[in-house]
């Protein structure tokens, strides 16, 4: 038993305690807050597993955006909270559910204990070929070179999710602005923060994108930061969410995928395969894809949080 393992053990206990609390606490609002804490603790676990890229993503998306989404939705559903709580199943269904969860957890635990040793790994292959990409961050190399098709399709999934959310718009609001109009004290603390923080946040986002080539970071983390800054300005009432019918907005949303696809198809005549990069040009092309994707991801994530349009465009 060494000190590091003691720390990890305490972290695991804390993560599990917060997770139990988010599942069992009576008040759904508290559960949303609990999930934010859970996301941050989980980010620490990712650091302990030497996956700093995943830690940044978990803290930003799991702890940040998901919690904002949940808390906003909880507040809107607050009226039905008591009625819903009354529908809590009795002891027998709860016991059965506990048995189900317990047996799945036990099965997975057995799998974890029986993992093969030495573990199969693709790290040597990545290390062998990473020089061809000119990148120093192996995770970015996997995301944008070795498994670039996954990342391309993921960008498409994000856009599809946003389109699906938008299809839930009531007919009378189609083409309108998502989310309520936030009215806050223009001289209040929130407006002050929303004026002070975005410039810093934008610089940090560009930095996270830029170092993503060689150090932990990249377009998802940077895009989430930008989305957070935009949401802050919207929620402080400094700016409004744009109507979803705007052409520039739709252009920005698909820009990342279009650039990705264009570079991908350019690879067919230039490098002999879809999504292959011509020799020596891998890094600049990857940075170009990342920069365009960052903007698209930022707008998509923020609009996913805001949800379908709820009011007409009164510009």
């Amino acid at each position: 038993m060494n000190l590091a393992l003691l720390f990890d053990g305490m972290l695991v206990v804390l993560i599990l305690a917060v997770a139990v609390w988010t599942v069992t606490v009576r008040d759904s609002f508290a559960a949303g807050i609990g999930y934010a804490v859970y996301g941050l603790l989980l980010a620490l676990a990712w650091v302990r597993l030497a996956a700093v890229d995943a830690a940044l993503t978990e803290a930003a998306i799991g702890g940040g955006l998901t919690s904002v989404l949940m808390i906003r939705a909880t507040v809107r559903l607050r009226a039905g909270e008591a009625a819903a709580r009354a529908a809590t199943p009795g002891p027998l269904p709860r016991l059965l559910a506990a048995l189900l969860g317990g047996s799945v957890a036990a099965g997975l635990a057995l799998v974890v204990l029986a993992l093969p040793d030495p573990a199969p790994t693709l790290a040597p292959q990545v290390a062998e070929h990473i020089a061809t990409t000119g990148l120093g961050n192996a995770v970015t190399a996997v995301l944008l070179s070795f498994r670039a098709i996954d990342t391309l399709l993921e960008a498409v999934v994000l856009i599809y999710a946003l389109i699906a959310v938008w299809t839930l718009t009531p007919d009378r609001f189609w083409g309108g602005r998502p989310g309520p109009k936030y009215e806050t004290d223009p001289n209040g603390m929130l407006a002050y923060l929303a004026r002070l923080l975005p410039p810093i946040g934008i610089v940090v986002a560009v930095y996270v994108l830029w170092v993503g080539a060689d150090l932990p970071g990249g377009k998802f983390q940077a895009g989430t930061l930008l989305a957070a800054m935009w949401l802050l300005a919207i929620m402080a009432g400094l700016t409004e969410a744009p109507p979803i019918s705007r052409r520039w907005l739709r252009g920005v949303l698909v820009a990342g995928t279009v650039v990705f696809l264009a570079i991908g198809f350019a690879g067919v005549p230039l490098a002999g395969a879809f999504l292959a990069y011509p020799e020596g040009f891998a890094k600049p092309l990857i940075v170009a894809i990342e920069a365009a994707s960052m903007l698209s991801i930022a707008f998509t994530l923020a609009l996913l949080v805001l949800g379908p349009p709820e009011r007409r465009d009164q510009a």
Partner: protein, 109 residues
């Protein structure tokens, strides 16, 4: 007991806990939250597999790590869609749970 195994067991428990919450919580938002617990438990298992594959100066196998990053983002977009569906259902029917409106059947999850 080493560090990856410890977090692997943590991930396993999280999946079980999330499943329990998914079945037991009557509020749809709590079900979505519980589903996210399941998802993060699975991601943690991926992280453990990645950590065990550490080699050649890399802290972990970068392929599962990249998959997890993709997974977290996709999980968020699915969560956002689910929340939007719940809110729309609530706006249209006023329902606070997923139970069928005029039936004595147990709620369909």
């Amino acid at each position: 007991m080493n560090v990856p195994t410890l977090f692997g067991l943590c991930g396993a428990v999280l999946v079980g806990l999330g499943l329990y919450g998914l079945v037991v919580s009557p509020q749809p938002l709590r079900k979505i939250l519980a589903f996210n617990l399941v998802g993060s438990g699975v991601f943690l298992l991926f992280g453990v597999v990645a950590r065990r594959g550490a080699a050649l100066g890399m802290g972990g196998d970068p392929v599962p790590q990249a998959l997890v990053i993709t997974g977290i983002v996709v999980a968020f977009s699915a969560t956002a869609l689910a929340v939007a569906l719940v809110l729309r259902l609530h706006d249209m029917t006023g329902a606070a749970t997923l139970a069928p409106a005029d039936a004595d059947e147990p709620p369909v999850a």
